[in-house]
């Protein structure tokens, strides 16, 4: 299992409790469109991801992240 796959799986596990409609997750799944998350859900989820990986995803970075794949890339980069 590559690092990226491991990160994807961890991210997916963090998404699960917020995935009320059981949307199937792929790299291309969008948070706003597919998962239909509002800003409050996004905030709780980001905090959970930050704590899981011990990183900070600034609001500036969050604005650029629309898909699960982009988040996995961002986490991989921040974990460095």
């Amino acid at each position: 299992m590559t690092d990226r796959t491991a990160i994807f799986d961890s991210v997916a596990a963090q998404i699960a409790p917020f995935n009320k409609k059981d949307v199937a997750l792929t790299e291309a799944t969008t948070f706003a469109g597919d998962l239909e998350w509002d800003s409050l859900t996004v905030m709780d989820f980001v905090a959970a991801i930050e704590d899981e990986f011990d990183i900070i995803i600034t609001m500036n970075m969050q604005a650029e992240i629309e898909t699960v794949g982009q988040l996995v890339d961002a986490v991989a980069k921040l974990k460095g």
Partner: protein
Amino acid sequence: MTDAPAQTRDLFSKFDPLINEREALLATGVRDPYAIVMDQVLSPTRAIIKGKETILLGTYNYMGMTFDPDVVAAGKKALDEFGAGTTGSRVLNGTYQGHKEVEDALKEFYGTSGAMVFSTGYQANLGIISTLAGKGDYVVLDADSHASIYDGCGLGNAEIVRFRHNSVEDLDKRLGRLPADALKLVVLEGVYSMLGDVAPLPEMVAAIRKHPNCMILCDEAHGMGFFGPNGRGAYEEQGVEGEIDFVVGTFSKSVGTVGGFCVSNHPKFEILRLVCRPYVFTASLPPSVVATAATSIRKLMHAGEKRAHLWKNSKRLHGGLTDLGFKLGSETPQSAIIAVILTDQMQAVAMWQTLLELGLYVNMARPPATPAGTFLLRCSLCAEHSDEQVEQIIGMFETAGKATGAIA
């Protein structure tokens, strides 16, 4: 101007969901909570709305200074002597004697070496946050921060990091993950305006001081006037005065007029007057406004009896509403704001309208202004509410709560 056709897609199309939601709500026959007109204002606590005398419980007039005779007289005198407006920026032709006087009053009130007056409280946060934290710096803010704090972050070029509301642990953790050598501005509020809850400032300050290169800004918009021995705010009451680098506040609440400010002891504070865009590129406050503000601030230094009555009112209303079975935003009366939490928009509007028909005005607040997607009726008390008015208010809540099913 062109007459735009209503149906085609244009720049307004993104507002269609909100337009439709409002139309559906108003179609049920309720009054629009965001279109109230005060036809006459009789006092800090009473107004005429659509011909009905109404108790005001939805203003920020905490200390009831709007009709103070000395304050009004100072405004009239300045209007006569200095005219209606300055037509200028603070750094060009817009600084009059009155602007210096109100900054002197602030320095005395806060015991600081520096004070800078902005045209609104919103602009004070916008200007201070966006100017202090530049590219490569960090702003660390509470998730429930006021829109002016978020917008200050948006205007600037710093990296923005949020922590969970009033969570000392979450703040500590996030600061620990930032580069040690980066410069950080931590933005806190003494009193959070939607639920009326107060920040645990000593614990937060202790957590912040574990980390290097942090300055602390505390917004005391809803704390000035009645927290602490000198009425400086929640940070004074909680004994962390020596730890706060910048206090931001407003004249539009306890002071009773309009305007914003920042006070600080930083030796280089004055340079902000030349580099802070929301200070430089807008007109200064009219002479009458700064004169009323200066007079009011000086009177607030000696307003012990008013403070005591405001706290009495807050405790009585909180206790009365709790006894009736309402769910409130804070378990104890922590400030002059008491938020009544309702289940949804329909119940909130029904309660709001019933109260208005009984002769009581409160604020209806909804997401995104409110935390956690709540619908609430926000009550803000005034030192000038009499004991009788507070009892009347509790009686009206009982009637409206039962009529709408909000309480059993």
